[in-house]
Every structure is written in C-alpha cells, then in structure tokens.
C-alpha cells in the first residue's frame, strides 16, 4: 500500500515533467505568463519525482535491514523528539508573525504593488486563521 503510494507519486512526477517538456516545445511564445508555465511544471515534476524515487529507494533498502527500520521508526515516534519538533515549530511560528508583520509594513512603505502587499496580508491572515481554527478544534477535543 505504502509502495503503491510512492509509485503513484513518482508517476505523477514523471507525468508533470512530460507535460512540462511538451509545453516547452508547443506553447505559444506571445503570452508572458504561459511562457513560464512549462518551467513551473518541470520544476514541480522534478521535485515530486525525486521525492517519490527517494521514498521507494529508502523503503527497499530498509526492507533488507529490519533492525534499522525499527530504530528509525522509534526515532520518528519518540515522544521527546516529537515534543522538541513541536516546540521548535511553535518558536518558528512566533518568529514568523513578527517577520511577516515587518515585511508587510516594509512592502507598504516601499510602495510595492498593492496586489503583492494584499497577497502577503491574506497569506498572513490565513496562517493565523488556521492557527485559531486548530486552537478551537483542539480545545473541543482535549
């Protein structure tokens, strides 16, 4: 099941790469936005393909070394490791609030195009909304 998922991811990566190369050959050069599209497909396709292949190779290698697989599984599920990771993420989230805030003010003062500033503001609000949603959800669950 897990391997099927990895193969599907790898297949999607190859498909995205193929679409990217196809578009590179056949796309009309007159539209600026469309001109960049093939490279976006190739970039995402390469990333997805690499990630999928990496997972397949790791999975095959670990099948031959069950003890290593067990150790890795323990490291992944270790409660202290999870607590450390969550605390680090919380710190990064707090820092992001100030960094994004400063960036928004800077962009506004620099007179950057309104669309770009608004996109940044909406992203910022979305992340904070997401945080509030999970706060409420966990508040009900715990």
């Amino acid at each position: 099941m897990k391997n099927t998922k990895h193969w599907l991811i790898t297949g999607s990566g190859i498909a995205l790469l193929a679409v990217g190369f196809f578009l590179m050959k056949n796309i009309d050069n007159s539209n600026n936005f469309l001109m960049n599209l093939p490279y976006v497909f190739v970039g995402i396709g390469s990333g997805v393909f690499g990630s999928g292949m990496g997972s397949i190779v790791t999975s095959r290698t670990l099948k031959k070394h069950p003890e290593t697989q067990r150790v890795l599984e323990i490291e992944k599920k270790d409660e202290r490791n999870i607590a450390i990771s969550n605390r680090a993420k919380a710190k990064a989230y707090d820092a992001m609030t100030f960094v994004f805030g400063a960036l928004m003010v800077s962009f506004a003062l620099m007179g950057i195009e309104l669309v770009a500033v608004l996109l940044l503001v909406f992203s910022y609000l979305f992340v904070h909304g997401y945080g509030i949603y999970y706060r409420c959800k966990y508040d009900r669950e715990m």
């Binding site: 323990i74 599920k77 202290r80």
Partner: protein
C-alpha cells in the same frame, strides 16, 4: 521532577540502549529522563513503571515547588 530511573536501571544491569529498545523510545530520551531534563508523558511513565514492576510514585518524585 526527580526520578530514580538511573538507579533502578543500574541495579538491574541494563544499558540505556536496552531500556530504550524495550520502552520503544530513543536512547537520548532515556538519558534526558535520567538527568531530569525531560518529564515523560503519563503513558511513558506507566510503561516505565510496568517495566520495573513498581508504581509511578515510586519512580518519579513529585516536588511541589519544582517548575
């Protein structure tokens, strides 16, 4: 929170790696628990207590003032 984990482990002649393997945690977690740098979840505390055949209170020492 203080605990008697190191003492109990050494009394039984078990290595940190072996205890970690039985409890399904990393060796670093055992080290941190023994040093008092990390307090376990209630589930891990029960696992540890079950392993040593003792109650949680006999292994982990609750201190009112400790933060």
């Amino acid at each position: 929170m203080k605990n008697r984990l190191e003492e109990l482990r050494k009394n039984r002649g078990i290595k940190q790696e072996e205890l970690a393997s039985v409890l399904e945690v990393s060796r670093q977690t055992i080290g941190s628990l023994e040093n008092g740098r990390y307090n376990p979840s209630i589930l891990l505390a029960f696992k540890i207590a079950n392993f040593f055949g003792m109650s949680i209170e006999e292994i982990f020492i609750y201190e009112e003032d400790a933060k």
